[in-house]
Structure formats: C-alpha cells, structure tokens
C-alpha cells in the first residue's frame, strides 16, 4: 500500500520551535507560564506569549514577537503590523515552519529507527524545498 500524503505543518512542540528560531538566528526566551509582550517603547502589551523573541534581537523599532500556545496545543505567532511590514510576515513564518518540520522529522526518524538516506535542497519557482529520504527497517 503506497501513499502520497500532503500536510500543513502545525507548530505544537516547543523544543522544535525554539530550535527553529535558533537556526534562523534568534535566541528565544521560553516562558512556560506566559508573559506579556513588550512593545517598541518598552510598554507591556495586552498579548501574552510562551516563546518570545526579545526586542534586542529585532529591529530597533520592533515589538517583541511571541508565540502563544492555544487551547489546541498549537503555537500561534503574534507579530505586530510594523514587524510584519519589515519582513516578519507569512513568508518568514513559512520558513520557520519549514525549519521546524525538518527538525521534527529528523528527531522522529531517529527515535523510531528509520534509516536516513539523504537530504537535498531543491530549488523551485516557489522557493527552496527540503527533501529528506529514509528507508524503513
């Protein structure tokens, strides 16, 4: 029984979210209880988040970027209009999801005993695709 399955990545695991942010060059702060995000003027905003990129790692006029875990266990991004406008937009979130999914896939493969056969970056008109190949014992 051979199948082809299409998925939409959900950010549900804090570990891979943090690792993905680190791979993109950030050192996120993890707040298990959640804390209010800090705005560009140092003010506390109404939004709370569990994984936070501090302002110091962003543009000088940026607000903190946060990820809040919703009731379904999925991390939702909180990004201000300003920060969306300077590049922390859907494309950035898509690249974050790409790195997250690669990390998660490699960890699952290792834990479940799949045999890693290779990684390739495929250039397409829609951007880079990461291809991971495994064999099953």
């Amino acid at each position: 029984m051979s199948k082809y399955v299409e998925l939409r990545t959900s950010l549900t695991d804090q570990r891979y979210l943090v690792e993905a942010l680190q791979e993109l060059g950030y050192e996120p702060e993890v707040c298990p209880e959640g804390r209010a995000l800090v705005g560009y003027g140092g003010d506390q905003r109404a939004e709370q988040a569990h994984v936070i990129i501090p302002r110091g790692q962003l543009d000088s006029a940026s607000n903190e970027i946060g990820f809040v875990r919703d009731s379904g266990g999925v991390y939702q991004a909180i990004v201000s209009e300003y920060d969306r406008g300077i590049g922390f937009d859907d494309a950035w979130l898509g690249r974050l999801a790409q790195v997250y999914k690669e990390r998660q896939t490699m960890a699952v493969a290792k834990a479940k005993g799949y045999i890693f056969k290779g990684r390739e970056v495929i250039h397409t008109p829609q951007g880079k695709k990461i291809q991971l190949r495994f064999a099953v014992r």
Binding site: M1, S2, E6, G73, Q104, V108, Q126, G127, V136
Partner: protein, 64 residues
C-alpha cells in the same frame, strides 16, 4: 522484496508532502502517522502501486 522508502518534502510555505513507497498492509499507515505528528492532513491518495497490489490480491482469491 521491494525496499520501503519514505521521501518527505518540506516547502517554504510550511507545507509538507510524504511519499511512501514499497509498503504492504498496515505498515504504510503507521509510518505515515509517525511523520505526520500533529500536522493537518490536507490530502491523501493511494498510489497506482496500491491498486496493482489490490488487483493481484483479488485475482488470487478468485483462483479455483
């Protein structure tokens, strides 16, 4: 026996595809579940190979 292979492609929009080859029976669904995690399934289709195997099984059952 054909090697069981999994090819996973992840794009920059956060979409992922899983191509599972060489499986027979329930193993395929189990492998898909391993890699799916808590992701949202957008589409699943059985590949041609699946239908060839199904036909072969049916033919065996009809043999006198």
């Amino acid at each position: 026996m054909k090697e069981k292979k999994v090819v996973i492609e992840i794009d920059e929009q956060g979409n992922c595809s899983m191509d599972l080859e060489g499986f027979q029976g329930k193993g395929c669904a189990e492998v898909a579940k391993d890699f799916q995690g808590s992701d949202v399934v957008r589409n699943v289709r059985n590949k041609q190979e699946f239908y060839i195997q199904e036909t072969a099984i049916k033919k065996q059952h009809h043999r006198p």
